[in-house]
C-alpha cells in the first residue's frame, strides 16, 4: 500500500511571529522555518504504517520553491521513501494546493493520503477536505487513531462531543490531529540516508492548472499589545472606569 503525505514548510512554532511594518504580510525574513507540526504527525503515522508492514512505500510531497526541499529532506530522514517537490514561487490558495495534489494522486495512485488537519501559518483547515472532494475519496478528518483493516481504514476523529470512529473504504484521505502520535526525531544514520533518497522536482506549471490567485491578502495586523495598568485612587474611581471606560458593568 502506497501512502502519500503532503507536507508544508511553515514558520517554526517556537518563533514569535512578527508582522511587517507596512502590514502587508507576516515577516518571514530571517525566520526559522520547519515542517508544519500537523504534517510531521502525518509523516510519523505513515512511517509507522510502513514499520508495521501495512504500507509499502511512503511518498512525501511539498509545494513551494526550492527551500521546501529542506522539509522534504526532514520527512525522508524521518522515514519517507521518496519525495516530490512541486516547484513554484507563487503563494497558493488551498484550492490550488488541493488541485495540484489531485494530479499527484492520479499519478501515484496511493491507497492512503495522510495530511495535517491544518497548517499553523494560515490555519485554513481546507486542503484535506478539498482533495477528498476533488478525488472522490472518502475522508476522515481530525484523526486521533488510524487503523487499516483490509480494504478499510478505521479513523477515530476528535469531534466536539468526544470521539467518533468512522470506517472508510480505501483509497481514503486522513487528516491528523495533535494527539494521533508523537513524532520521532531523526537519528543520525537516517539523516545521512535521507540524502541518498530520491527527490523529484516537478514545475507546477507542467500540471496544466490555472493557478491564478483567487484571494487577495489585504493586510495583516498583530494582536493589540497589552497596555500597562494604572493604580486607581478609590473604589469609586474603579467602578466608574469599569462602567464608562471598560464598559464591563452597567
Amino acid at each position: 500500500m502506497k501512502v502519500l503525505v503532503p507536507i508544508k514548510r511553515v514558520i517554526d512554532y517556537n518563533v514569535k511571529v512578527r508582522v511587517k511594518a507596512d502590514n502587508s504580510n507576516v515577516d518571514l525574513a530571517n525566520v526559522k522555518m520547519a515542517i508544519n507540526p500537523f504534517c510531521e504527525i502525518a509523516v510519523e503515522e505513515a512511517v509507522r504504517l510502513k514499520e508495521a508492514g501495512t504500507a509499502t512505500e511512503v511518498i512525501a510531497v511539498s509545494i513551494g520553491d526550492k527551500s521546501c526541499q529542506e522539509q522534504l529532506r526532514t520527512a525522508l530522514a524521518l522515514g519517507a521513501d521518496r519525495a516530490i517537490q512541486i516547484d513554484t514561487d507563487q503563494n497558493l490558495d488551498s484550492l490550488h494546493v488541493a488541485k495540484l495534489l489531485q494530479k499527484v494522486v492520479e499519478e501515484e495512485q496511493p491507497q492512503l493520503v495522510i495530511l495535517g488537519k491544518q497548517s499553523i501559518d494560515s490555519d485554513n483547515n481546507q486542503t484535506g477536505q478539498m482533495l477528498a472532494a476533488l478525488t472522490g475519496m472518502a475522508q476522515g478528518t481530525f484523526a486521533s487513531a488510524v487503523n487499516v483493516d483490509g480494504e478499510k481504514v478505521n479513523v477515530t476523529r476528535e469531534v466536539d462531543g468526544g470521539l467518533q470512529t468512522v470506517a472508510l473504504n480505501l483509497p481514503a484521505i486522513v487528516t491528523t490531529d495533535l494527539r494521533l502520535n508523537e513524532p520521532r526525531y531523526a537519528s543520525l544514520p537516517n539523516i545521512m540516508k535521507a540524502k541518498r533518497k530520491p527527490l523529484a522536482v516537478k514545475p507546477a506549471a507542467d500540471f496544466g492548472l490555472d493557478l491564478t490567485a483567487r484571494t487577495t491578502l489585504l493586510k495583516v495586523t498583530p494582536p493589540a499589545e497589552r497596555q500597562a495598568g494604572i493604580v486607581v485612587e478609590s473604589i469609586d474611581e474603579l467602578v466608574e472606569k469599569l462602567k464608562n471606560e471598560a464598559k464591563v458593568i452597567s
Partner: protein, 601 residues
C-alpha cells in the same frame, strides 16, 4: 515562555559566520554533508535534550547515586535517556562510517552537544568519557584491542573511563603505585586502588572499559615508568559475550557538590589474583597515550565551562526581561509601575559580563575543537601541522579560561536572580555547582599554568607561542581598517606587546632566578594569556558583526550584531585592563606568595 537553553542565533553565528563550518563540506571526509545535515543533527540533539533530559535534570541533581554495598543505584530515568542518545547515533557522530559513525565535523557535534550538556546536567558525562576513551584506543591501541572494545563503546553497549588518580597520587602522577605484572598469556595482572574515577561503576551499560595507568614490575620510578591498560569490569568470552568478573571492585562513592548524576568512585583493582589488563601500545608510554585522551578531555572540560556559562546567561537574561522589581533612580513616584529588572543598569552590567565571558569562552572552545579537526582533516600536511601546533599550545588556555570564567558567569546569573538564584527552584545555582569542577579536573588551573609557561611556551623554539601571536596579529591588521574597531585593534596590539615583553621577562627569570620563585606567579601568566586570547576572539567576532552590519541586515540581526559589539567593548574596557595588573606581578617576579611562610597564616 521558558528561557531558551542556548541562544540559537549565537550558535549559528559561531558555526557559520565566525567559523566556516559550512566550508568543511569541501573536505573529503565531510563531502556527504551539507548545512542541512548539520542543522538536522542539532535539531535531533535538541529534541532528545527536551524530551529525555530536561524533565529529569533537577532529579538528577537532587537524587545522587547510592551504593548499597553491592551495586550502584541511579535514578531509573537516566538509563533510557542515555539509550535515546545512543540510539540516535549522537554518541558516535564524529566516528568513521566503518565504525558506525556519521563522520560529522567535531565542531558541529560540539554545537549539538550543547543542548545535551545543558539539559542533561552531567548525565551526558558518561557518553563523553566513553567517546574520549574510544578515541584514545583508536589512536594508540592494537587492532585487536580496537576491534574488541571500541565498537561496543561507540554502540553504547559499553562505557569507558580514565582511571589515573590514586589516594596518594592526584596531580602528581609520577607517584602512582598501581602495579601490573605480565602473565604468561601476554596480558597483565593489575592491582591497586584508584579514586575519583568518574563513571567508575553504574548500571547504564553492559560493561565498563577502564583505561588504567599502572607501573609494570621493574619499570622506572616517576612518570617514565607508567603504562596504560584496558581493564574491563567484565572479561569477554570468545564470542564477545560478557564473561567473568574481572575483580574491579567498587570500594565506595564520593559525594560531590555538583555533577551529581555522574558517579565518582573509589575502585579497587585485582584484590585477589589481579585484574586482567591488556597493554595499550608499548610499556612505559602510558602517560603519553593518556595525554591524548586528556588533551581531548581538556577541550571537553573547557566546553562544559563555556556551555554552562551560556546556559546561566540565557536563564538569567530571560528572568531579567520578565521580573518586575523596583524603579529607576530617576523615578520618584511609588505609584508608577515597577520596571523589569533588565531596566537597571547594574543588571545589564551583570548580563554583559556573562555575555562577554560565555560567548568569548564558546568562541574559544569551538576554535579549539576546529583545530582538533584541522590537525586531522585540513587539506595539506602543512595546515595539519600548523593546527596541531596551535592546538597543542592553546590547550591549557582552552581548558582553563572557560573553567575559571564560566563559574564567574554563573555567579552573576545567581546574582541577577537575587534570592531566587540561591534556591533550587531555578537551575542557576546548579549550573554554578556543576561548573565549579571544571577548574579542578583534567589538570587544575595551577597545573595548566605550569604546563603553559614551563613547557608549552619554550617548546620547539617557541613555535606554538609564535604561531598564536601571528594569528592574533592577522586579526589586528584586519580590524584596524574597520571603522569602529580601530580602537580595539590598537588595544589588542598593546596587549600582545605586553604579553611579549612579559613572556620574555618570565622566561629570563626562569633561567636566571630560583625556578620555584620564577614560577610562583604562573597562574597570573595563564590569566593574562587567557584574557588576551579572549580579547582576540572578541575582536574576531567584532569583525564579523561590523561587516554584517554594513550590509543593512534585518532588524533582529542588527540587534544581534550590535550586542556583539557592545560585549566586545565591555571586554576591552572592563576586563582587558587587568592585563596590566598581571604584567606588574610577573615582570617584577613578585615574591609575595612565594615568601609567605606556612607559620604566618
Amino acid at each position: 515562555m521558558a528561557a531558551a537553553m542556548i541562544n540559537e542565533r549565537d550558535l549559528e553565528f559561531m558555526l557559520y559566520e565566525l567559523f566556516d563550518s559550512e566550508g568543511l563540506i569541501g573536505r573529503e571526509r565531510y563531502q556527504d554533508h551539507d548545512r542541512q545535515t548539520f542543522n538536522e543533527v542539532i535539531n535531533t540533539a535538541k529534541a532528545i535534550a527536551e524530551k529525555h533530559f530536561l524533565p529529569i535534570r533537577q532529579k538528577l541533581d537532587t537524587h545522587q547515586p547510592t551504593f548499597d554495598g553491592k551495586k550502584v543505584h541511579l535514578i531509573p530515568e537516566l538509563k533510557p535517556a542515555i539509550a535515546a542518545v545512543n540510539a540516535s547515533g549522537i554518541g558516535s557522530a564524529t566516528a568513521d562510517y566503518e565504525l558506525g559513525g556519521m563522520q560529522l565535523p567535531p565542531i558541529v557535534a560540539s554545537a549539538a552537544a550543547t543542548y545535551l550538556t545543558i539539559a542533561g546536567g552531567v548525565g551526558m558525562g558518561y557518553n563523553m568519557l566513553t567517546t574520549a576513551n574510544a578515541n584514545l584506543l583508536q589512536a594508540h591501541a592494537s587492532k585487536e584491542l580496537i576491534d574488541t572494545w571500541v565498537k561496543p563503546m561507540l554502540d553504547g553497549r559499553f562505557m569507558g573511563t580514565m582511571a589515573m588518580t590514586e589516594p596518594g597520587s592526584g596531580s602528581g602522577l609520577g607517584d602512582l603505585s598501581t602495579k601490573a605484572v605480565k602473565a604468561s598469556d601476554g596480558s597483565y595482572r593489575v592491582s591497586g586502588s584508584k579514586i575519583f574515577i568518574s563513571g567508575g561503576d553504574h548500571d547504564l551499560s553492559e560493561n565498563i572499559v577502564h583505561l588504567v595507568l599502572a607501573r609494570v614490575q621493574g619499570a622506572p620510578k616517576g612518570v617514565k615508568g607508567i603504562s596504560l591498560f584496558v581493564v574491563p569490569k567484565f572479561l569477554l568470552n570468545d564470542d564477545g559475550s560478557i564473561g567473568a568478573d574481572n575483580e574491579v571492585a567498587l570500594a565506595g562513592l564520593f559525594h560531590k557538590m555538583g555533577g551529581k548524576a555522574q558517579t565518582s568512585t573509589a575502585l579497587s583493582f585485582g584484590e585477589k589474583s589481579g585484574s586482567v589488563g591488556y597493554l595499550v601500545g608499548e610499556e612505559n608510554q602510558g602517560l603519553k597515550y593518556m595525554f591524548h585522551m586528556m588533551n581531548e578531555a581538556r577541550i571537553m572540560v573547557g566546553t562544559s565551562g563555556a556551555v554552562l556559562a551560556n546556559a546561566g546567561f540565557q536563564y538569567s537574561l530571560d528572568y531579567a526581561k520578565n521580573r518586575p522589581q523596583g524603579r529607576l533612580p530617576s523615578c520618584k513616584d511609588p505609584l508608577s509601575p515597577m520596571v523589569n529588572i533588565i531596566e537597571h543598569a547594574d543588571v545589564r552590567r551583570m548580563l554583559l559580563a556573562q555575555k562577554a565571558y560565555a560567548e568569548g569562552a564558546m568562541a574559544l572552545v569551538l576554535y579549539g575543537t576546529q583545530l582538533s579537526d584541522d590537525e586531522k582533516t585540513a587539506p595539506s600536511q602543512e595546515q595539519r601541522e600548523y593546527a596541531h601546533t596551535l592546538l597543542d599550545f592553546l590547550t591549557p588556555i582552552i581548558k582553563t579560561w572557560p573553567s575559571e570564567y564560566g563559574p564567574k558567569a554563573n555567579s552573576y546569573a545567581i546574582q541577577v536572580l537575587g534570592g531566587h538564584g540561591y534556591i533550587n527552584e531555578h537551575p542557576v545555582e546548579m549550573f554554578y555547582r556543576d561548573n565549579r569542577l571544571n577548574a579542578i579536573h583534567e589538570g587544575t588551573t595551577g597545573i595548566q599554568s605550569l604546563d603553559l609557561i614551563a613547557r608549552k611556551v619554550p617548546m620547539n623554539n617557541m613555535e606554538g607561542y609564535l604561531a598564536t601571536i601571528s594569528e592574533m596579529n592577522k586579526t589586528i591588521v584586519i580590524a584596524k581598517e574597520i571603522e569602529g574597531l580601530n580602537e580595539f585593534s590598537s588595544e589588542l596590539k598593546n596587549a600582545v606587546n605586553t604579553l611579549n615583553s612579559t613572556t620574555e621577562s618570565v622566561l629570563k627569570a626562569m633561567s636566571t632566578k630560583n625556578i620555584d620563585l620564577a614560577l610562583a606567579n604562573s597562574v597570573s601568566y595563564l590569566s593574562m594569556f587567557g584574557h588576551v586570547i579572549i580579547a582576540w576572539l572578541w575582536l574576531k567576532q567584532g569583525i564579523v558583526a561590523s561587516n554584517a552590519l554594513a550590509e543593512q541586515p534585518h532588524q533582529d540581526d542588527k540587534h544581534f550584531y550590535q550586542g556583539k559589539l557592545q560585549a566586545l567593548q565591555y571586554f576591552y574596557r572592563i576586563e582587558l585592563p587587568q592585563v596590566a595588573v598581571w604584567q606588574k606581578v610577573l615582570v617584577n617576579t613578585d615574591s609575595t606568595s612565594f615568601d609567605m611562610q606556612a607559620e604566618w597564616f
